[in-house]
Symmetry: C2
Subunit: 364 residues, 2 copies
């Protein structure tokens, strides 16, 4: 595992030390301050030999996302078996593969980010973590905090799926249900954290949830034979998965580990909570707060993501698009599926390039 | 993948062809008829070279339990990403590892058996499958049947966990809730199957659910570096997992792929439904129907498992024991955990050999 060289702000390009725990960029003069990215010196890993070592070292053991330890911080993992999820071939659309992120601990891709963030919290000796959650992050934080023996303080909208609430409680977290949206929960965490001694482990407000989620990008490329897909359809609430995958693609190119053209990134939002899709359509650099946000896909009910500027940049740079989808089909599975699935087109020329759909998250 | 040589009855030792779909042994003169085991000619796979090919061929792809295709029937899999689940090191008991079977599709180890059984049903061209289920098998059959485009007819006790019911319905299965136990559900399937044209895919009433579950035994051994653990604690309802792992151990020895002494097999049952533990204590060869069976661990509520004789044979041959455990601790997680977890002791002499506990099934 490499040592962290520094944390970098994508807005003001400041370099900040990772010796002590960091939140957002402390050097930004404009608000909101930039989310920090972890940077390493990866030069010794350049080329296919270091790449081939990944599968060889994983060997017969089960290492999950930590098979990429060579491009993750050099610390002792807090792990519950996250990552290295199946890639399933679509039957209906042969050109499409589905990354089944529901196979993660606590049933969602949130496990990746929180495994990494709680690992670093343990490394830094933090004792109390706080987070707002639209559902799935709550269960994941509660599980990893329990595994690390760290307190979790969680604020969720009162109408989150009951399973997420029960899960967080069962893992021993301190859960408060809030009469409002995730943005209201975030405000409460922000108001109380200093007095309570909580470290704010919210999406994009510390550097390591992105770092965990970047492993989706590594896996997706490795599982396609170290080739890019043509496109990635990504259900976008907070958007950290997309930001993490994009970071992975940058690193993979720096490392010389990937072939082909970077995929189009397609952000999928629910029609009744689509701030990023609206900003994309209007050519704006950031989103505006979505009024009266609602969707069956609770994880996508984020009325103004903190990373909106980054998401919009990535979608545009990739030649992709941000889409607001309605859930018009009547069956339960279609409703569940429409806004919570993602897909990527395979680059094999001999296969038809048709879209199909893959779950990034189960149970939304 | 090898061709199936024949199906073998462990009771009367008859050899039966696998050219057409089979249920239980048709040659047994005593009732109940023996459950059939799949036999292959594995002689060409003997030795460590064929063994090392498994990890090498899996390479950078995600193959799940089908990484063992060399010891599974030579047919096209119906897969949703089952198997190759994490092995987690216990923190509390360093000598113990946990096989997290909850990472399987539909959240339980039932996925392995039903992936294989539905794969064979597709191979044979069967159109209608029926099963009684105490909970988890219902969701798994419904999912794999949907993936294969086959009808599923499921009979469950009326008080199964609601999640299992919803899951089966959502995947499009025909679900009937029965005012009784799984044994009553089994009776209904048995009474109606001929008239309805259902193939009975019940536990141990066809040969391939065992065959899928044997992959747990292969994984457990491979993930411990092709060495046996000292013991396997296995939550025992129908007991197919234990029977499947024991079959894997026989094959692994025939193949020369494993080192060490076969593990003690510890069958764990819930105190208020413990027919196998009672028969073990009383020195009986088979169990008696447990009256007024109840337990929070719905998957273990099997008042007389069809495979009781096989389970008791395995437990005794291994030098193990069958235990009835009460759930005395008060927290929700303890209650969930007590009867639904399993563990194995690692053979490393440098580590203390203490028991810890691993989930075979999540969410029971």
């Amino acid at each position: 595992m490499p040592a962290i060289a520094y944390l970098e702000c994508p807005r003001c390009h400041a370099h900040i030390s990772a010796q002590s725990p960091q939140t957002v960029c402390s050097e930004c003069t404009d608000q909101p301050a930039g989310s920090l990215f972890v940077r390493y010196d990866l030069s010794h890993l350049h080329g296919t030999e270091a790449r081939e070592a990944i599968a060889r070292d994983a060997g017969t053991a089960w290492r999950g996302m930590w098979r990429y330890h060579s491009v993750l911080p050099d610390v002792v993992p807090v792990t519950l078996g996250e990552g290295w999820t199946p890639m399933l071939q679509s039957k209906r659309y042969p050109g499409v593969v589905v990354k089944e992120e529901g196979a993660n601990p606590t049933g969602t891709f949130k496990a990746r980010g929180l495994a990494m963030a709680v690992t670093m919290a343990q490394h830094y000796g933090l004792k109390k973590l706080a987070v707002p959650s639209a559902g799935n992050a709550a269960g994941a934080l509660a599980a990893y905090a329990a595994a690390a023996g760290i307190e979790a303080h969680i604020f969720m909208p009162h109408d989150v799926p009951f399973a997420n609430y029960v899960e967080a409680i069962a893992y021993g977290a301190n859960v408060t249900l809030v009469d409002g949206l995730i943005s209201d929960c975030a405000r409460i965490v922000n108001e109380r954290k200093q007095q309570e001694g909580w470290f704010d482990i919210s999406t994009l407000k510390e550097p390591f949830r992105i770092e965990g989620k970047k492993t989706m990008g590594y896996e997706l490329v490795e599982q396609l034979g170290w080739e890019y897909p043509d496109a990635v359809f990504y259900p976008t609430g907070g958007g950290v998965g997309m930001i993490g995958m994009w970071k992975a693609f940058e690193e993979l190119e720096e490392l010389g580990w990937v072939k082909g053209k970077r995929p189009k990134m397609i952000a999928i939002q629910a029609a009744d909570c689509a701030p990023v899709a609206r900003a994309f359509d209007q050519g704006e650099a950031v989103s505006q707060m979505w009024q009266d946000a609602h969707t069956f896909a609770s994880g996508l009910r984020v009325p103004k993501p903190y990373g909106d500027a980054l998401i919009l940049e990535i979608v545009r740079a990739s030649g992709g698009v941000a889409l607001a989808l309605t859930t018009t089909r009547s069956s339960l599975l279609s409703r569940i599926g429409a806004a919570t699935r993602a897909c990527c087109f395979r680059p094999k020329a001999r296969r038809p390039r048709q879209p199909t759909i893959i779950c990034w998250r189960r149970g939304l």
